[in-house]
Symmetry: D2
Subunit: 368 residues, 4 copies
């Protein structure tokens, strides 16, 4: 109830502050006998790691994961898997200046009101450092989904007003390679170049900028998602909205769909005679439904977009108020991302994997 | 886990098919000693009721709620409150034509795959008729919030591409009156007129159209929302995305915020010397945060928008596939809404009330 | 969190006061395509029904169940099943004398302290009338378990100090017949006769008496139960302890087991060469483990016992205190059971069925 | 759902195998601003620690707890508290002999059936080593309860057939001192002496023996516990039954109460004129209710008893079956307790503290 757990059957519980000893997660409900590829998990963490390029924060963390339980002879045992990522480069003294001052658009004030005892070093629990635990556990979920043939791909579709053209979602592995070949993680190389230029300029100005991430889940079996409250897209939406800095979520036709008329928007069913994609009985000609109808997956690509606001920490002085209610100033310092989306690609994929793994198990319980 | 419950401490569980005997809800966790104003509850239901105007479905339901438990001498007792709304005008024979045919962009196919036993009469559980249970229980949540001084206001901000100008959110009671003075439930009368014209044309063409609803929650105390996964906006997002036909959710600056830079987007704190709004210690000059920072309310207006796709049932024949995989045709008939947003205003408010009541109790448990 | 739900995947939520309009339950998570035998459900309710014999309360209730949702063409659809049992013979005026007086060993005082608004008519929510909802939903669980080949049998093993000898648990259907042939529901006819005499004498003296119920679950597959907190016997224990008047629970060797030494108590494994019972790979020579090892079923009979205190309502005047703290007297009147165990057999079986159905689904999710 | 979490609002999730790297726990929902006395936590762990006397296992563990998060400047922050206890003296090779053999009355077989991948070193997750995480988190709960004035006291009331006389529950601190003055942890010194003799003899014979623990919770406010399924004693029962080797639970009059008649068993209310105990409005003359009526605490002492079977590991050879179904023998070796109850006193108190802390928060949410 204190909100540090996510998922019902494939369930994670995270802990750890930005500047404490470690951040970590317990995965409870990972099925047994899944091969645990530690290199894969570390590679996922590396995509989220700070300091990976000139357009990310310069905090130095190796983000090396330690697994304390739940794995025996290279396979999951069905018991809880605890993963711990020690903090290495905290520099807590960077934060003494905000001990008694509320940074604009941060959680300093709301945490103070709520708890009355705030770990002011780097945002404590509200720091995006918490997401390292999501990526670690999401990597485990991905290993499970891989075994089921389910693929997930996300990339940066926009930075500020620079939108990437709609890329063709053919081979997701290939797209991942293209994405990983540029530091902004956009699958369209030309747009990636523009985005990097933009972010670099923003960084030099001591400012930050928002962006969007698009995601597709492929080969998801039909039938996942529970009707009414736990619709598949509602749980995906909650997952994404729980990521730091996210201000919007849309799936399928999204906000644009609200401007359409029914006769254009309806996805016509056709028999899937050629068995493409895969073994689906039916497919739809268009996919405004984003692979989900009535909250339940229909076997088509699940597609959604996530909007991130600009990071609140800027390298500029800002007026604010102190905890005693006096006018104050916050100075621009510390190590932060000029734009969060390149590193957030790994987080979006991780959260998507956690939702799908959870709903796969939920559906299996009743209808498996 | 089968997903028919919502909320943790103020928790609802709904039941009922579109064409079964009744739809209903158990509210478990409503505090004791709340005055239950039955007329208010019925008035809320009337806003969602079918057949209320020429631009809604002509199904005739009085939607009269029966309360079976949990209330004694006009007050809640702290025990579960069961509310039942009988179905009166089912006309199930209207649906025999879709027994073996999958309607485009409905849940017929996904339910069939998932459960293998589909109540095909009117969409069964995937029908928007289920939302009558949300409005009934949301009305109870509203009565609780009223006692706490918290106000909720939603209205239709767009139909198709007709967007209402940003209305000034001064007196929410007054705005509610303006909204209720037109059948499309837009708080801007001039835009309302245009919207009604548009929907009426769409209806005559046998088509449907999407739209958007904007919502504001006022006087919410600072401190509601749990960090990490159960951020206040993440739970609001899930609540909204669980409503039939919703394809998008954004709060505060939303999708537009992803195009902004940090120095514009940051909400500067100032001391609230004049005690306006109310007793807040601080307020912010702008409100791109939408009243929520780090997932926790900061006392400012909570603002969000919800995007609805066009209703899938159109009065036109459409190609589709039968349950045996043959090409088939779905004929346009039945009684449906040309545009769902006028009736959905009550649902959006109800779900918002349920989320806030739940988080109020959650915060009270730990920090009350 | 307000505690009116039970189970995780096969989950029930109950509502209703003793003297309100109705008592009922929503079953959320019953798999689809289970044949619903309404006569069986009603027959289960009849075993718990008041007024069934001279040794039960004389309140007249037909306990006729109405199903409002979740069943289509005689089968479950996978959606919530709402069951309502109207109250017919409330006689609320019987209770005006306890409006301001706390009955000894009832929940009057604790409800008053907790909620500050008590439905004093007949104990409100703390009345054993609530268990009718458990029996109705448990009957549904039994129908599911039947399909899986799992059997449940309980009987009255003791009334006061009259203990039935250990009966041989051969054919459970036969034992059920013997049990149903006497009004106290003991599977040993000679002991049943003694028990009935005892209860009848107690009843005439205006007093009440406690008793015990023994239960066996047969053909439960090995593997049910989750290690650590949700051990199968821990969930059975909670289920039983949640029944009105229960003061103790033991499984397998129980309290007596705490007096034994390990070399006697250990259940030696042997290969199950003859395939008896059924298809188990192993069986144990003794069964002090009660069919559960490490919290997980091992395929042997699951056995447990439940202790019920004497009913608190007696037909004698008792000293007490009024809600204003004055000395007062409670008069012996109303319609109550001299001994609760004959009717509680159906409740014990229902709760056992709910636990097993839930754990069957939980195990299926991960290991099915 | 995989059952490694306990509690709703004060919620723990544990991880770790007997012979893995570490055992640990995340406490989610501990209120902020509680002073964390690390010495107290360690002292609690020391009471459960192996190797503490001649009548406990000789495994050497310092059980030193590391806190990774959730505490800032000596106080809880309201965020998750992760505690890790490294395993130091695993000697996994001790267990190679049971890799393919099922030990009688252990969980080897059931884990194998359930998960198909068993960490056979020392029982893995089914080892009582898991309970170190319960004691660590229970110590935190105790610190919270202390602040609220609530006291918990448990002691060994029986070993085998040696029962301690009913001790007078006057000063619980004094009783704790007496209990800690003997290695069997019985509050009656004469009986303690007998118990120690008995266990020592059993140990020398390579056997084990069961026992019972009695517990009292004092100064619990009236109003804790939720009616129907989450009755306070039902949650206490589940908590206790989830501890390794527990086969029975009873509260108040318990199993003996089932042999009583109502007129003796009813607890008569009297006004608490002298304000003793404390500020209760009412008290009862007797306390067969064990401090709980209708599932809700009434302010009197909460009393219950827990029965433990003899430990399954004995220093004698036993016949069994191998994982391939062949007859086999298990040799008596390893380091184990001849009687588990002296060390389990700390576990019983810890679980009781967790239940009360959880229900305190639950009640505060609704009625605080």
């Amino acid at each position: 109830m204190a909100g540090n757990s996510f998922g019902q059957l494939f369930r994670i519980t995270t802990f750890g502050e930005s500047h404490g000893a470690a951040v970590g997660v317990i995965v409870d409900g990972c099925p047994s006998n899944i091969d645990v590829d530690l290199e894969f998990i570390q590679a996922e963490l590396d995509k989220r790691r700070p300091g990976q390029s000139k357009i990310t924060t310069q905090r130095k963390e190796t983000d090396t994961v330690q697994i304390l339980s739940g794995i025996f002879e290279g396979k999951t045992t069905g018991t809880p898997i605890a993963m711990v990522i020690p903090n290495e480069d905290q520099r807590s003294k960077d934060y003494s200046h905000i001990k008694d001052t509320y940074r604009p658009s941060h959680a300093d004030y709301t945490y103070d009101v709520k708890y009355g005892n705030r770990d002011y070093r780097g945002g404590g629990r509200s720091s995006a450092r918490e997401t390292v635990a999501r990526v670690a556990s999401g990597a485990l979920a991905k290993l499970y989904l891989k075994q089921l043939g389910i693929e997930i791909f996300a990339h940066v579709s926009a930075v500020g007003t620079i939108d990437s053209p709609n890329i063709e979602l053919t081979d997701l592995n290939e797209l991942t390679e293209i994405r990983e070949s540029n530091i902004v993680r956009c699958a369209d190389p030309a747009t990636a170049h523009e985005m990097i230029e933009l972010i670099d300029g923003i960084r030099k100005a001591g400012d930050t900028i928002g962006g969007k991430i698009a995601c597709v889940i492929r080969n998801c079996p039909a039938g996942l998602g529970e009707p009414v409250f736990d619709k598949l897209h509602a749980d995906l939406g909650k997952a994404m909205l729980s990521i730091n800095a996210v201000h919007g979520f849309e799936y399928g036709s999204g906000f644009l769909g609200s401007e359409m008329i029914g006769s254009e928007h309806n996805d016509i069913f056709v028999a899937n005679n050629k068995g493409e994609p895969r073994d689906l009985k039916l497919k739809t000609v268009t996919n405004f439904s984003g692979g989900i109808q009535g909250g339940i997956s229909n076997g088509m690509d699940i597609t959604f977009k996530v909007a991130f606001k600009p990071v609140a920490t800027i390298m500029q002085n800002q007026a604010t108020v102190s905890s005693s209610g006096e006018a104050a100033e916050v100075f621009g310092k510390g190590r932060h991302d000029p734009c969060v989306v390149p590193r957030a690609v790994a987080i979006v994929e991780a959260m998507a994997a956690l939702v799908i793994a959870d709903h796969f198990l939920r559906n299996k319980a009743y209808n498996g």
